[in-house]
C-alpha cells in the first residue's frame, strides 16, 4: 500500500478542516477502505481518521426517533439499539463477523454504498435522514447507484436519524464467503405505509421495491408478495447467482422479512 499522512482529529470541526487537504480521504472503521488501499485501488495522500471524535459516536433515542453517530461501530449498534429498534440492531449484529463489527461503522458503510452492504437497506427502508457536516439528506436522495452517494467532496456523515417504524425486519440471504448479502430485504411498516429496500441484487445498488411496497401496503402478509416478480434486467448476475435467481430472491426475502416483522 502507498504511504500517506495520517491525521486523527478529536472534533468534527478539525476533521472538516483536515478534509480540505489535497487528496484527503476520510477513514472510519477501515474494514473496506484498508483492504482497498492494500490493493492500490485507493491511494489517498492524507487519511483523516474519524474514530477519535466523541460527538460522532453513540446511540440515542428521543420519542420515536433513534439517532446513531456515524462513527459508531456495528457491535455497539447491535447492543445499544436492541431495545428501541430491534430490526436495525439485528442487521448491525449480522454484518461481517465479530472482529469486523468491532471496527466497521454505519457512516463508513453508507459513504461507501457497496451494492451488497446491509446498512443501506435499513436506512432506505426506514426513510432515515443522513446528517452530514453540511446538511441533512433524505435516504431517498442519498443513494445514487453503485458506490455512489449524494456526498460531495470533503463532506462527512456525522449521524443517521431513524424514525422507528411500527414493525420492521431484515431478512439476509448470506453470501457465506464474503459475508455480504446475496440478496436481502428490509421491510418497515409505519401506519399502513410499507417501505421495502433490497440490497445485494441490483447493479445500481440498494433500491426500493415499489411493486412489493404497493402489495404490502394493501395487505401486510407474506402472501401479498407471492408470485410478484421483480424485474431481472438490472440485477447482478455472477457465479453466486444469475439475474433471474436474484430477481426471484427479491420476493422470497421480502416475504421472509414480512413474516419476521409480524412475529
Amino acid at each position: 500500500m502507498h504511504n500517506f499522512d495520517f491525521v486523527k482529529p478529536s472534533s468534527l470541526a478539525e476533521a472538516v478542516k483536515a478534509m480540505q487537504a489535497e487528496g484527503a480521504q476520510a477513514l472510519s472503521g477501515g474494514q473496506t477502505l484498508i483492504s482497498t488501499m492494500k490493493q492500490r485501488l485507493a491511494a489517498p495522500a492524507v487519511l483523516v481518521s474519524l474514530t477519535g471524535i466523541a460527538e460522532m459516536k453513540g446511540v440515542s433515542v428521543a420519542g420515536r426517533v433513534m439517532t446513531i453517530g456515524a462513527a459508531t461501530p456495528h457491535a455497539v449498534v447491535a447492543k445499544e439499539a436492541a431495545k428501541a429498534y430491534p430490526a436495525l440492531a439485528a442487521l448491525a449484529g449480522g454484518i461481517g463477523d465479530p472482529a469486523v463489527r468491532s471496527r466497521g461503522t454505519i457512516g463508513g458503510s453508507l459513504a461507501n454504498n457497496d451494492p451488497a452492504a446491509c446498512y443501506p437497506a435499513g436506512v432506505l427502508a426506514s426513510a432515515a435522514t443522513i446528517v452530514t457536516s453540511r446538511r441533512e439528506i433524505a435516504a431517498d436522495d442519498f443513494f445514487q447507484g453503485l458506490f455512489t452517494t449524494a456526498l460531495e467532496e470533503g463532506e462527512i456523515i456525522t449521524a443517521v436519524r431513524f424514525p422507528i417504524p411500527d414493525r420492521a425486519a431484515y431478512a439476509k440471504f448470506l453470501q457465506p464467503a464474503s459475508r455480504f448479502s446475496l440478496t436481502s430485504a428490509f421491510v418497515a411498516r409505519t401506519g399502513s405505509a410499507v417501505r421495502v429496500a433490497i440490497t445485494g441484487a441490483s447493479e445500481n445498488g440498494v433500491f426500493r421495491w415499489t411493486e412489493g411496497e404497493r402489495a404490502l401496503s394493501a395487505n401486510f402478509s407474506p402472501q401479498a408478495v407471492k408470485g410478484l416478480k421483480a424485474n431481472a434486467d438490472d440485477m447482478i448476475g455472477d457465479l453466486h447467482g444469475s439475474k433471474a435467481y436474484r430477481a426471484a430472491l427479491v420476493g422470497v426475502m421480502t416475504a421472509r422479512a414480512v413474516a419476521m416483522a409480524m412475529a
Binding site: 495520517f6 477513514l27 477501515g30 484498508i34 472482529a99 469486523v100 471496527r103
Partner: protein, 161 residues
C-alpha cells in the same frame, strides 16, 4: 515516521511507524510479538485477531496510528502470570483444538472475546462467533469442543460430527 504509544499485554510500548503501518506489522516487526499470525492480509481469515480495548479486531486491518493510547492484548498475553497456559489455552491442548497451529492465536483471541461476553455459549453460538476465523486444517469440531470445555461445560458427549 510518527511515534505511537500503546499498552500491549500490560506493558507500555512505543515505536516510530509510518501512516500505513498496520497493527499486525507493528506487533510482529516493531515489538517482535510474532504470536499474532497474518494469514490472508485481507481480513478474511482471522488469524491476526487481537483485543483492542477488550474487543476482537483483525490487526491486519487497522492502522497502528489509529490506536494511539489503546490497550492491546495479544496471544502472548493470554498465559497465566506464572507462564502456565490459561484455561482456554489448556482446553485447546486437551481437546486437540489445533492441528498445524497457524490459525490458533486468532481462534484463541476470538474465543476469549466470546467467553468474556457470553460465559456459557451454546455450540451454535461458538460457531457463529468464530465465523470470521478460518482453520485451513478444518479442525472446527475440536475447536468448538475446546471453547465449550473452557466455559466449564461437560463435553464428554460431544463427538466429532
Amino acid at each position: 515516521m510518527t511515534k505511537v504509544s500503546m499498552t500491549v499485554n500490560g506493558r507500555a510500548v512505543s515505536g516510530d511507524v509510518e501512516g500505513r503501518t498496520l497493527l499486525s506489522t507493528f506487533l510482529r516487526e516493531g515489538l517482535a510479538l510474532t504470536g499474532t499470525h497474518v494469514g490472508c492480509d485481507t481480513s478474511q481469515c482471522g488469524a491476526c485477531v487481537v483485543h483492542v480495548n477488550g474487543a476482537p479486531v483483525k490487526s491486519c486491518t487497522v492502522f497502528a496510528l489509529d490506536l494511539e493510547g489503546a490497550t492491546i492484548r495479544t496471544i502472548e498475553g493470554m498465559a497465566n502470570a506464572d507462564g502456565s497456559l490459561s484455561p482456554l489455552q489448556q482446553a485447546f491442548q486437551d481437546h486437540h483444538g489445533l492441528q498445524c497451529g497457524f490459525c490458533t492465536p486468532g481462534m484463541v483471541m476470538s474465543s476469549a472475546a466470546l467467553l468474556a461476553e457470553n460465559p456459557r455459549p451454546t455450540p451454535q453460538e461458538v460457531r457463529a462467533y468464530l465465523d470470521g476465523n478460518i482453520c485451513r486444517c478444518t479442525g472446527y469440531h475440536n475447536i468448538v469442543k475446546a471453547v465449550l470445555a473452557a466455559s466449564g461445560q461437560d463435553v464428554s458427549a460431544v463427538a466429532a460430527e
